[in-house]
Symmetry: C2
Protein backbone atom coordinates (compact mmCIF):
# COMPACT_ATOMS: atom_id res chain seq x y z
CA UNK A 1 0.00 0.00 0.00
CA UNK A 2 2.77 2.42 1.01
CA UNK A 3 4.73 1.40 -2.09
CA UNK A 4 1.75 1.91 -4.38
CA UNK A 5 1.43 5.42 -2.97
CA UNK A 6 5.17 6.10 -3.51
CA UNK A 7 4.96 4.81 -7.11
CA UNK A 8 1.84 6.89 -7.78
CA UNK A 9 3.38 10.10 -6.35
CA UNK A 10 6.53 9.40 -8.44
CA UNK A 11 4.44 9.01 -11.60
CA UNK A 12 2.43 12.18 -10.84
CA UNK A 13 5.62 14.25 -10.24
CA UNK A 14 7.40 13.14 -13.42
CA UNK A 15 4.18 13.68 -15.42
CA UNK A 16 2.91 17.05 -14.16
CA UNK A 17 6.53 18.25 -13.96
CA UNK A 18 6.26 19.39 -17.57
CA UNK A 19 3.24 21.66 -16.90
CA UNK A 20 5.30 24.45 -15.21
CA UNK A 21 7.54 24.42 -18.32
CA UNK A 22 4.48 25.04 -20.53
CA UNK A 23 3.28 27.85 -18.21
CA UNK A 24 6.75 29.47 -18.09
CA UNK A 25 7.05 29.23 -21.87
CA UNK A 26 3.65 30.89 -22.43
CA UNK A 27 4.45 33.63 -19.88
CA UNK A 28 7.90 34.53 -21.23
CA UNK A 29 7.25 33.49 -24.88
CA UNK A 30 10.80 32.12 -24.78
CA UNK A 31 11.77 28.47 -24.96
CA UNK A 32 15.02 28.70 -26.91
CA UNK A 33 17.16 27.42 -23.99
CA UNK A 34 15.09 24.22 -23.93
CA UNK A 35 16.93 21.60 -26.01
CA UNK A 36 14.89 20.44 -29.05
CA UNK A 37 16.94 17.22 -29.07
CA UNK A 38 15.82 16.56 -25.48
CA UNK A 39 12.18 17.18 -26.45
CA UNK A 40 12.49 14.86 -29.48
CA UNK A 41 14.06 12.05 -27.42
CA UNK A 42 11.34 12.47 -24.76
CA UNK A 43 8.71 12.37 -27.52
CA UNK A 44 10.06 9.06 -28.88
CA UNK A 45 10.62 7.66 -25.38
CA UNK A 46 7.14 8.53 -24.06
CA UNK A 47 5.49 7.19 -27.24
CA UNK A 48 7.26 3.85 -26.76
CA UNK A 49 6.41 3.84 -23.01
CA UNK A 50 2.76 4.48 -23.93
CA UNK A 51 2.73 1.54 -26.40
CA UNK A 52 4.52 -0.62 -23.81
CA UNK A 53 2.00 0.37 -21.11
CA UNK A 54 -0.94 -0.43 -23.40
CA UNK A 55 0.64 -3.80 -24.22
CA UNK A 56 1.11 -4.60 -20.49
CA UNK A 57 -2.43 -3.25 -19.85
CA UNK A 58 -0.80 -1.18 -17.09
CA UNK A 59 -2.97 1.93 -16.61
CA UNK A 60 -0.29 3.83 -14.61
CA UNK A 61 2.44 3.46 -17.28
CA UNK A 62 -0.02 4.16 -20.13
CA UNK A 63 -1.74 7.17 -18.52
CA UNK A 64 1.41 8.80 -17.12
CA UNK A 65 3.20 8.55 -20.46
CA UNK A 66 0.12 9.57 -22.45
CA UNK A 67 -0.05 12.81 -20.46
CA UNK A 68 3.72 13.40 -20.54
CA UNK A 69 3.69 12.83 -24.30
CA UNK A 70 0.94 15.47 -24.73
CA UNK A 71 2.88 17.98 -22.59
CA UNK A 72 6.13 17.36 -24.52
CA UNK A 73 4.31 17.86 -27.85
CA UNK A 74 2.84 21.17 -26.54
CA UNK A 75 6.34 22.38 -25.46
CA UNK A 76 7.80 21.39 -28.86
CA UNK A 77 5.02 23.25 -30.73
CA UNK A 78 5.32 26.35 -28.51
CA UNK A 79 9.12 26.36 -28.95
CA UNK A 80 8.74 26.15 -32.73
CA UNK A 81 6.08 28.90 -32.70
CA UNK A 82 8.05 31.33 -30.51
CA UNK A 83 11.35 30.76 -32.37
CA UNK A 84 9.60 31.34 -35.70
CA UNK A 85 8.08 34.60 -34.44
CA UNK A 86 11.33 35.85 -32.89
CA UNK A 87 13.29 35.30 -36.12
CA UNK A 88 10.97 37.63 -38.08
CA UNK B 1 11.35 -10.32 -26.49
CA UNK B 2 10.09 -7.58 -28.86
CA UNK B 3 8.32 -5.93 -25.93
CA UNK B 4 11.42 -6.03 -23.73
CA UNK B 5 13.30 -4.27 -26.54
CA UNK B 6 10.54 -1.62 -26.87
CA UNK B 7 10.54 -1.04 -23.08
CA UNK B 8 14.34 -0.80 -23.01
CA UNK B 9 14.49 1.67 -25.93
CA UNK B 10 11.75 3.71 -24.21
CA UNK B 11 13.74 3.80 -20.96
CA UNK B 12 16.97 4.73 -22.80
CA UNK B 13 15.24 7.61 -24.69
CA UNK B 14 13.58 9.16 -21.63
CA UNK B 15 16.86 8.82 -19.68
CA UNK B 16 19.50 10.04 -22.15
CA UNK B 17 17.01 12.68 -23.35
CA UNK B 18 18.33 15.01 -20.65
CA UNK B 19 21.95 14.81 -21.87
CA UNK B 20 21.40 17.14 -24.89
CA UNK B 21 19.90 19.68 -22.44
CA UNK B 22 23.13 19.56 -20.37
CA UNK B 23 25.27 19.94 -23.52
CA UNK B 24 23.15 22.84 -24.82
CA UNK B 25 23.26 24.54 -21.43
CA UNK B 26 27.06 24.27 -21.24
CA UNK B 27 27.46 25.52 -24.82
CA UNK B 28 25.16 28.55 -24.50
CA UNK B 29 25.67 29.12 -20.72
CA UNK B 30 21.94 29.89 -20.67
CA UNK B 31 19.28 27.80 -18.99
CA UNK B 32 16.90 30.51 -17.82
CA UNK B 33 14.05 29.37 -20.10
CA UNK B 34 14.15 25.94 -18.42
CA UNK B 35 11.53 25.92 -15.65
CA UNK B 36 13.08 25.41 -12.17
CA UNK B 37 9.68 24.12 -10.97
CA UNK B 38 9.82 21.43 -13.69
CA UNK B 39 13.35 20.46 -12.62
CA UNK B 40 12.31 20.29 -8.94
CA UNK B 41 9.27 18.13 -9.69
CA UNK B 42 11.42 15.82 -11.86
CA UNK B 43 13.98 15.66 -9.03
CA UNK B 44 11.33 14.57 -6.51
CA UNK B 45 9.66 12.23 -9.04
CA UNK B 46 12.88 10.48 -10.13
CA UNK B 47 14.03 10.11 -6.51
CA UNK B 48 10.75 8.36 -5.64
CA UNK B 49 10.95 6.21 -8.82
CA UNK B 50 14.50 5.22 -7.81
CA UNK B 51 13.36 4.20 -4.32
CA UNK B 52 10.39 2.36 -5.85
CA UNK B 53 12.67 0.55 -8.35
CA UNK B 54 15.07 -0.49 -5.58
CA UNK B 55 12.10 -1.78 -3.54
CA UNK B 56 10.80 -3.80 -6.53
CA UNK B 57 14.40 -4.93 -7.24
CA UNK B 58 13.72 -3.84 -10.82
CA UNK B 59 17.08 -2.88 -12.37
CA UNK B 60 15.50 -1.04 -15.34
CA UNK B 61 13.37 1.30 -13.18
CA UNK B 62 16.19 1.83 -10.67
CA UNK B 63 18.98 2.43 -13.23
CA UNK B 64 16.94 4.59 -15.61
CA UNK B 65 15.74 6.84 -12.78
CA UNK B 66 19.15 6.92 -11.09
CA UNK B 67 20.69 8.28 -14.29
CA UNK B 68 17.80 10.68 -14.99
CA UNK B 69 18.04 11.96 -11.40
CA UNK B 70 21.78 12.67 -11.87
CA UNK B 71 21.13 14.52 -15.14
CA UNK B 72 18.32 16.61 -13.60
CA UNK B 73 20.57 17.55 -10.65
CA UNK B 74 23.33 18.62 -13.10
CA UNK B 75 20.84 20.80 -15.07
CA UNK B 76 19.56 22.38 -11.82
CA UNK B 77 23.11 23.15 -10.65
CA UNK B 78 24.14 24.57 -14.05
CA UNK B 79 21.00 26.72 -14.17
CA UNK B 80 21.71 28.07 -10.70
CA UNK B 81 25.38 28.72 -11.63
CA UNK B 82 24.64 30.50 -14.91
CA UNK B 83 21.79 32.61 -13.48
CA UNK B 84 24.01 33.66 -10.56
CA UNK B 85 26.80 34.71 -12.95
CA UNK B 86 24.45 36.56 -15.31
CA UNK B 87 22.92 38.61 -12.45
CA UNK B 88 26.34 40.04 -11.47
Amino acid sequence: MLWSIIGTIAAICTTIGFVPQIIRGIQTRELSDVSPTMLTLLLVGCSLWLVYGLHLKDPIIALANGFTLSFVIIILLLRFLYNKNSSK
